[in-house]
């Protein structure tokens, strides 16, 4: 699972919807892999405008990626190929092979297995 995905995920439990603690989900025991994805600078430039930067920053910190800027880059900064390449590597090429995603509100754990995160809820939580 690409790290960019996490920016568009929250807890599937109804009562967690809208709770600030449910976003972003927190990683535990992750096994990361690098996959080649074709670098398209325009894709990164366009996607950045739609990313919740605070959520991304939190996730990057938890995973110990130190190089991500404090504030969302815009304008001139998005012309830097190095920055776009770094973000491409982090958002698309760095992928979670195994691990757990945990809701900060209810504590429910979602498993990631062989690159696929499973958000199907057990029936007592539906």
């Amino acid at each position: 699972m690409k790290l960019l995905t996490v920016n568009f995920l929250t807890c599937a439990v109804k009562t967690c919807k809208g709770s600030p603690a449910a976003f972003p989900l927190h990683f535990r025991d992750v096994e990361l892999e690098l996959h080649d994805v074709e670098f398209q600078p325009d894709f990164i430039r366009n996607i950045i405008t739609r990313v919740d930067w605070e959520g991304l920053h939190k996730m990057a910190n938890e995973l110990n990626f130190p190089t991500i800027p404090e504030v969302k880059p815009d304008g001139e900064a998005l012309q830097s190929e190095q920055l776009l390449r770094d973000l491409h590597r982090l958002l698309l090429e760095t992928q979670v092979a195994e691990g757990r995603l945990i809701c900060g509100n209810c504590g429910h754990e979602y498993m990631v297995k062989e690159g696929i995160a499973n958000f199907l809820l057990p029936s007592h939580l539906v």
Partner: protein, 239 residues
């Protein structure tokens, strides 16, 4: 609580008559699903570069290659299908249920749900599915239009199809899927038949469901044995 028990029964019913079947037939099903439908293709191509979308019930992910300038989080209930969908860059695929989507509300520029909602076994669950998709869309704000969702469902009116159903026929049916498994050791093996549950939509029923779910239909029509609609949220975002 009675209503909770009922919904658990329906869940179990769909588990057996929809989800388990797709798990079993995933590879064969996927091999027959490769040609994107033109209306869906056009909808996806009309999205701006950098738009964020959902493909709810993505199956084998046949719509994911259509536009590589947008980012789609695709989901399905069948792990075997999700695994096939996973290959399409630059998008993502997860396992999720249409009634409990793990996405923040009011964020997405677009969503598609193609041939999925008709697998839910009661009107309430079908309307809830549409509501769940709509609430993920960005609401309109001032001059900025809101996100749009494209939904496709199988039509009751398909007299000229090989199934031949039409107005007046039963709308809740089991549809066979014949799985031929040619194994070299046993060439004479009988094909295995699976049955999937479908609710066949009548004219205007999809529009009505969208309306009840709090959406507004922008465009709708009939296309090769299916009813489709493009919808947006009615509510506006207040600054």
């Amino acid at each position: 609580m009675a209503s909770h028990e009922v919904s658990q029964d329906e869940e179990a019913y769909e588990e057996k008559n929809v989800h388990e079947v797709y798990q079993q037939i995933a590879r064969h099903f996927s091999a027959t699903r490769y040609k994107p439908w033109p209306i869906v293709e056009r909808f996806l191509q009309s999205q701006s570069p950098g738009a964020i979308g959902l493909d709810v019930g993505c199956g084998n992910g046949k719509y994911l290659p259509v536009n590589r300038d947008v980012f789609i989080v695709a989901s399905d209930r069948s792990e075997n299908l999700a695994r096939i969908a996973l290959q399409h860059q630059p998008h993502s695929t997860i396992l999720a249920d249409i009634l409990n989507l793990p996405h923040p509300d009011s964020v997405f520029d677009f969503a598609i749900s193609i041939a999925v909602v008709h697998h839910l076994s009661t009107p309430e669950r079908r309307i809830q599915a549409v509501r769940e998709i709509l609430r993920k869309l960005k609401p309109a704000s001032g001059e900025t239009p809101g996100g749009r969702a494209l939904v496709y469902v199988w039509a009751l009116e398909q007299k000229s199809s090989r199934r031949g159903w039409d107005k007046g026929d039963d709308q809740d049916i089991m549809v066979p899927w014949v799985l031929k498994t040619p194994v070299p050791e046993n060439p004479d093996a009988q094909p295995k038949v699976f049955h999937r549950y479908y609710h066949l939509y009548q004219a205007e029923e999809l529009e009505r469901d969208i309306d009840t779910a709090g959406g507004r239909v922008l465009e709708s029509g009939y296309d090769k044995d299916n009813w489709w609609a493009i919808a947006t949220r009615v509510d506006q975002q207040h600054p």
